[in-house]
């Protein structure tokens, strides 16, 4: 299951994308996130599932654009810490950060 946490507004699509099927709930991304924006918890979308996976904290979802901005160095040349820490490759970001903050 793909969960898009974030928003789309006039300036672009700002989402942290979690592949809940690939996520093994290890929590490494939670530890390395400098903004403490992530948490691991029960599957919110399937009340009958026992699996735990990572998600963006509820209070962060509306401002994720700003929360994730400092971690997007090199404008896509280097992965942000959460992506680098994830072995199964379950976490990614939409491209707005790349497009909006281009080097001039």
């Amino acid at each position: 299951m793909q969960a898009f946490y974030g928003f789309k507004d006039g300036s672009g699509e700002w989402f942290v994308i979690i592949d809940a099927d690939a996520c093994n709930g290890c929590g490494k991304c939670v530890e390395v996130c400098p903004a403490h924006a992530l948490e691991v918890g029960e599957d919110e979308f399937d009340p009958f599932s026992e699996k735990h996976h990572v998600r963006v904290k509820e209070g962060e979802r509306k401002k994720i654009r700003y929360t994730c901005a400092p971690c997007q160095p090199g404008y896509g040349e280097e992965p942000p810490p959460c992506v680098a820490a994830c072995e199964p490759g379950a976490i990614s970001h939409s491209e707005a950060w790349l497009h909006a903050y281009a080097k001039k």
Binding site: Y66, P70, Y101, K104
Partner: protein
């Protein structure tokens, strides 16, 4: 030599006239819907203020979101370039410029020579612009100026949940119903937008000296919140909304243009001596 810089933004237009390197006159006016006409009117009015005739003007450079509508401009330069040049003229030690206008916010990393090294922009969303503060002022039923003064009286930090100018208005109304004091709400509004602006600025790096320009720089409440948020000193020039136009005028003098160059009167001596 006489050059003119004109900055036509989302809400206001600014004109700066440089005569032999000194500011001869400047003017500001709301652009309304008919931006081209408003820009021309302001240009003529500012010329009158300076006691100058249109024929004496050597070059006009436009900048701002509606720069292309300025029919009488000889060329256009990018907003970031105008900001960088304008700030560099006044503050040669500036390395980060933050420009928050009515409809756009941007952060610029500038070189010691006043060139743009990097920039990040906040556009198409009112939440990171002066429009956000205006909308909240309306909800509080006070002017933006009153809001700035009030917010400086508050010592409380109430987080604003909404990240949108529309939802923010409802949140302000709800805070009023909860009997939260207007000064606390005003501060919350400034804190909220300062947080967003600072995040955008961090992308280019917050290196001192940090200079804030654009209409929002006149809001002392916002500047106070921004200082707190960044933990840095902030320089605000005397006429922060005119800096883009000043930069455009400076570039007119230096002959750096993106568009066509149509110099009517160019005093080469003045340019070479770096006076303009």
């Amino acid at each position: 030599m006489i050059v003119v810089g004109i900055d036509v933004g989302g809400k206001n237009a600014h004109v700066v006239i440089l005569k032999d390197g000194e500011i001869a006159a400047q003017g500001e006016a709301a652009t309304g819907i008919q931006k081209a006409e408003a820009a021309e009117r302001l240009y003529k009015e500012t010329l009158r203020k300076a006691g100058l005739k249109q024929e004496a003007v050597g070059r006009v450079v436009a900048t701002g979101s509606a720069a292309k509508r300025v029919a009488f401009a000889d060329g256009i330069i990018a907003d970031a370039a105008a900001d960088a040049r304008g700030v560099n003229r006044l503050f040669p030690l500036a390395r980060t410029v933050i420009d928050v206008g009515a409809e756009e916010g941007r952060a610029i990393k500038v070189s010691p020579e006043g060139k743009v090294l990097d920039f990040a922009i906040n556009e198409k969303c009112a939440a990171g612009t002066g429009t956000f503060v205006e909308a909240m002022a309306r909800a509080l039923e006070i002017s933006v100026e009153e809001m700035a003064t009030l917010s400086l009286k508050s010592n409380n930090s109430i987080p604003m949940n909404a990240q949108c100018a529309v939802f923010g208005e409802s949140e302000v109304v709800s805070l009023i119903h909860q009997k939260i004091g207007k000064q606390d709400i005003a501060k919350a509004v400034h804190d909220a937008i300062a947080g967003r602006i600072a995040s955008v600025a961090r992308i280019v790096g917050l290196k001192k000296d940090v200079v804030v320009i654009g209409g929002m720089a006149r809001n002392a409440g916002f500047i106070h919140s921004l200082k707190k948020e960044t933990g840095m000193d902030i320089i605000v020039p005397d006429d922060p909304a005119f800096i883009g136009a000043l930069g455009a005028a400076a570039s007119a003098a230096a002959g750096v243009l993106e568009g066509k160059v149509k110099a009517k009167v160019v005093e080469l001596d003045a340019v070479e001596k770096g006076q303009a």
